[in-house]
Symmetry: D3
């Protein structure tokens, strides 16, 4: 059973809207090696897991899978923020664009020139379950062979590929909103690489100097370095409400990344930051509920309550 807390797992920095960066980040959300895929793959591996005596492996996969749902929420929200208000966007450095809405340009004309037109036409400047080339997410991405060694090997490869692609995304944009989430995911992907590599170590493999993949130097990316200095690549949260996870039997000892750090699975979850609700976009015909509606809701509620009181007498409904 799953629960939600109205907090994002990591803060998103403020910067200009940037629909091209938003589109690139879609790979990290709906791409073959993105967060929807890791999430679904680990949930299926948890559901179909075999071997009661191997519970620590299941708990490791289940815990990472639960974290990936929060990553979907994080990167989806980041994409939505990069798109939001995009019609007021003034273009990349040194590449000025007519302000939409001025000079006779139509309000959504930007949709024809940047990234994926579906961001404006199908969604209302929000994230989509597609990759950066516009391909919809596919169930056949999910790998779950039922053979534990193979599943772990695949998962290691999957996290490393995710990290490789996020390193490339970092090289594509210097938008701060985008980079704050990219950097966080690079570090978490390394934690997950460590988790699966360690699990394979318990089954006999010795990685020597092969990890991490790719051999990225954190010093090259200051946003990444800050998080590595905090040790975030060596922690795995349980996200387990009943405190029944045995993942710590595996995620412990020296990191297989060979950086001399210790793995730590002792915490339940990071603190996170409150989620904010985006504004309405009239040019997308995207109203939520306006003031009148909210008044209507409250009036309706009051009226129904009165009816109930009349029918059943004054009873608590809590």
């Amino acid at each position: 059973m799953y629960f939600h807390l109205q907090n994002l797992i990591n803060p998103i920095e403020q910067d200009e809207p940037d629909p091209a960066a938003a589109n690139a980040l879609q790979e990290g959300l709906g791409g073959q090696f993105g967060e929807m895929r890791t999430m679904m793959q680990y949930l299926f591996q948890s559901i179909n897991f075999r071997g009661p005596s191997a519970k620590p492996y299941k708990d490791l996969i289940q815990g990472i899978g639960t974290e990936e749902i929060s990553h979907v929420e994080l990167i989806g929200t980041t994409i939505a923020r990069l798109l939001d208000g995009a019609p007021g966007y003034h273009g990349r450095k040194g590449d000025p664009i007519d302000k939409p809405g001025l000079d006779g340009a139509t309000p959504l004309s930007i949709a024809l020139d940047h990234g994926n037109i579906h961001h404006y036409l199908v969604g209302a400047q929000g994230a989509l379950p597609v990759d950066a080339a516009g391909n919809p997410w596919l169930g056949s991405y999910v790998y779950n062979s039922g053979n534990l060694v193979l599943d772990l090997l695949y998962n290691l490869m999957l996290e490393s590929t995710g990290r490789l692609q996020k390193c490339r995304l970092y090289e594509m944009t210097d938008n701060k909103t985008a980079r704050s989430t990219i950097a966080y995911l690079i570090v978490r992907d390394q934690a997950h690489e460590n988790a699966y590599a360690k699990a394979l170590e318990t089954l006999g493999v010795n990685w020597k100097g092969t990890l991490p993949i790719p051999k990225t130097n954190a010093e090259r990316f200051p946003e990444v370095k800050r998080l590595v200095d905090l040790g975030l690549q060596g922690k795995q949260f349980s996200f387990d409400l009943g405190d029944q996870s045995e993942a710590g039997k595996i995620f412990q000892g020296m990191s297989p990344s060979g950086d001399g750090t210790q793995l730590d699975a002792s915490e339940q979850a990071p603190a996170g930051v409150p989620i904010e609700i985006a504004v309405e976009r009239p040019e997308e015909f995207s109203p939520g509920a306006d003031k009148d509606l909210i008044a209507l809701i409250e009036a309706t509620a009051a009226m129904e309550m009165a009816d109930i009181d009349a029918t059943f007498g004054k009873l608590s409904t809590d």
Copy 2:
């Protein structure tokens, strides 16, 4: 941010394995109107939600979306149980099949005759992210127009179609394992119909006698009737850890199903039942970790701990 509790949201009854029923249930998991779709649709609608003053609507969608993750877990586990040990399966009533493994039949020959061969060949008698005709789940199923009325109208139609298909599934099999989950989902889909119909009532629609869709008579299905008698079609749990959900501002008053019941959004979650881990399947080459491995894990852990003690002194790592 999401959390997991090692409990299934509803118990699954014991019965014989039944690969044909397992395959039919895949529609409820990976079909166009199945639980993966409702889950993903509501998570995207929550992430992209617009209108700070419309928070009760967002909380309603977010809460149902969180519940759907548990439904994915429930129906996935049900499918895995219906498949598990299928090679020992003796066929439906009055339709005997040679016992695989006896009489010269090969151990997995059943895979050629029932449902989806991928259940045996690609998975190891576990659930797959596909529908009952074998089509992989598609990101383009997700609907999120950004217009609140349209999104609610779509969600009402989606829950009603899910319920329609589950009623048809009920008519296809009398396997108790299958029906215990089908019946539960019929009732929960009705609760979600109520939620979206009520939300549309607050925006002005009057459903009169149209709901529920389909107009199924619960008395026809005893497993459903039992749950309806408990009022489960009129409850919506928040699944919200921080107690910040305002969904109860909408989900209250008389049920739009017109059955005279009151809607109730006062509880956080049902109790659920503990999850059990499935056994290994050697004929699928699907070992988890055997005894030797567990011993190895523990030995490795002990050794690393000793190394750490030697290096850092006797320190707690908790």
Copy 3:
């Protein structure tokens, strides 16, 4: 602009329901070489046609394309009839099946064993836009290169492949409902082969003894022979309401099939037979509108009429 006449283009014979035959016929509806594809391909070729002086070619393609919409209607209706009431279906010759609804079998248990489960689970015993292996129809099937010779060559190949597959379908089932439509489409596909082959003759090709493809002997198939004896393989109707079609400038003279017949494009359309509406299926929760509803509709209409009279005075609204 298109118009509809409430007639089927050809009668469908009565026979037992047969879900396996229904599924096989899906290839002729939603398959890569089925009627949805020919219809869409010719509509796109008509829309995008280039060359005002080549109007006879456009009119030929447009006329056949319009006929294909009626073929979609014909084969879809045939599939729906083959499925309708399938739960009461007693199996193929010598292969008795427990009557659903008796002996404890569930009403839709047949869905687990025959053809495509979606016919029962997603549709309500009706045709689907998929092929016989369950793949949904794809826009990328449509071929429209914009080069007239290539488009004609493709269309000839397409009609021949459609005819080849229908000949194979004929060999798969002897159900009369299925065969009456299969035979009709074999003959019409040959008429369309003749049309595109003749068009290529006007552009220089000489087919000698190559046509028709496949070289099926009509005597082998009595239902086909009957239609060939009527000359249906040598007629092309215009389906053109304004009598502006110039297709007869091409579709004339000796048939390229080399059977010594003359091509004839002088008629607008065949007579057809009235369409009947299928009954409701309660086990599919598939009511249309029951008696109460019809009464309600009429009452509502009367009431509105009264309101209008009251408001606007007694005015005709016809």
Copy 4:
């Protein structure tokens, strides 16, 4: 059975070619909520319709479905015109592009920079059965549950989403060719919203102020306002040749849009305007039939006629 009239359902205004607008309009043709989808959905719902006593509902769906084929023709032709001659296109306002063919630019170099390269490479500057992001149309878009209330609810949602997307398209381009078709479809989608909303009213729903969706103010779009002033959002043509449609039993009385207008189903079809055939495009190697060919056709025809005369005597074949 279907018939064609060589008229477009609505005139298309003249303007500059605009490949970016053409690509955006593909969503309205081959998108998940575009005209190919409404057309196919309503044709399947008509073919599979259940309930002889509910014929007015079937006739309503069949009539709208027939209209949608004409919409496919209209929007496809609009896209083809927006693309046609695009190599001579000079760019959007204030954004000059080297004239292809001059200054050493290759004739089709524009294909690399605007919209969907397939418009030039696969088609010959013609419409494609894909959406604005290049995804091919999919059979799984079609919804036909067989439950009348659900099908009507879905159709209402579908038309509203189509209208929402067309409103967004209006905001993306001010090309007159594009807008003349967009505006027409916005108004017709509202007529179809009215049709399905009214049908649901007969089944019990009361929409109060919810419709139309989205709540677009026609005054905002002058091209739309002109058509609304003509009452086109309150008319539904039968497109029925045999005058057997009973759709008027439903499509009558006050509009559910709440604008005080009366619904009117008394006309068979609008007048339309003659279709023009596009010119050939040599740079696409897209000849139709040139003068020599036409001469050849006529000579061949004359020769065959002489042969026939020689063989059969002087008979008219007209």
Copy 5:
């Protein structure tokens, strides 16, 4: 540049046709982990390879990739043989089926009951580029990250998964035609596992007792044991015509499978066996060229030769 030799890479044993086994084997041809995928993945990795100093790795991948084309040929031919003449097929042990063609059964009625109907309806009892559930092969299966360690890790996982699935296929059928190819591919997949595992050893990984995956005991499968006894799991042929392959710098020394054998890359290719051409199938309307045609071909050729002699004088054309 590639060349073909008219030999199959391994002999196929004779047995009864078996369409269910044929369909299962499609996973090994067109499945996500089948031979089309390994072939395409390694060809793309070879084409896009980076690092002139890493030529031995490229040569290893190129050599295995070339072998996979021969595997496509082998498994495709095996499937075609399992299907060929299937209408004369009498069913699996103890499950007699009416002989098609007798007792009034239609010639291809078997197509409705076994495996994939497309084998009879779309192909003519030949292999298809689809998996065992009928999904067409997808370009997005191909993995080529451009990072050598990741590509090798993926390839190791890919070969192991291929081998796992073939072990499961072995358990599904005891048809000798099927098993002769399954056993051969199990052993060759292990050779490829060894190749990629060894390549990762040169980059630092130590596999200890983890390999091979799955830990299948060859003694369990006699057909596999025979090939293992011949050492086929420890050989990698170069398939390189110019003798330029440096794969032997990697594929040498002790096998990473830990079975004490030596790896050997010294041979160019196995001998293979001649390919035989299948007979025609009239019930599929699948003629190749009959005697008359062959006579026609020869006559045509003689005539053209005479024409050439007449025109150019008696000249050799070789």
Copy 6:
């Protein structure tokens, strides 16, 4: 069985990198009418071929199919070269772009603006198995009806469409790297048109002046003219190692293109040019094996060799 020679089938000219041209060329690699498709279609037609007496037709198809694998290698390598180093690319004529890496632009920012972002994000500036609009290659493209005349007719249409699209590609770019491969493929496609047209001539068709399709004038394209002057459109190599091909029985006599040339099938293969390995791309985290690794490989190899000597005595391993 297949073999590889480390030569490209045709030289690629040097020019600037050009990611837009690279993306356009993807249609020729992974498009519906590209080289992956012809390759796979002909390999399947060869595997499934029926009719021992029709061996010359099989050999013709097999030989062209083998050539197509080399075309995949050629066009894939061309795309990789057009992409390689693209970050240093300075833009099309008169359209300067900030040098990536300078002026604060991020190293891969070019990926956001040109062609398919996957070229940088998923691949490492290498070819992908997708078309120019980013759609992955699909198994359902492959056509193999099993009827020889139909297969030949389809193949003729396929080669002509491939040639049409390559003519359009020629018009889109004047990059010399791109055009050297485009021109070569235009000429080879014509040779294949000739092959299938000639095969249909042996079966009775007379093409008169219809071929080639499209009727492109070689003089218009100087790179094409050079190859046509060498007669490359009239040659078909056997690519057959055992010298068993009988394709020359068909591919002989006057060309069906009507250009007065003689067809010639007497040669085994062209000479080709050596393949070069691309450099590493650090900004893609795309290292092959660096110097240290190569040293490590050699050391490891030496060590293992010593071990073997120690164990088995000084034995040759060749």
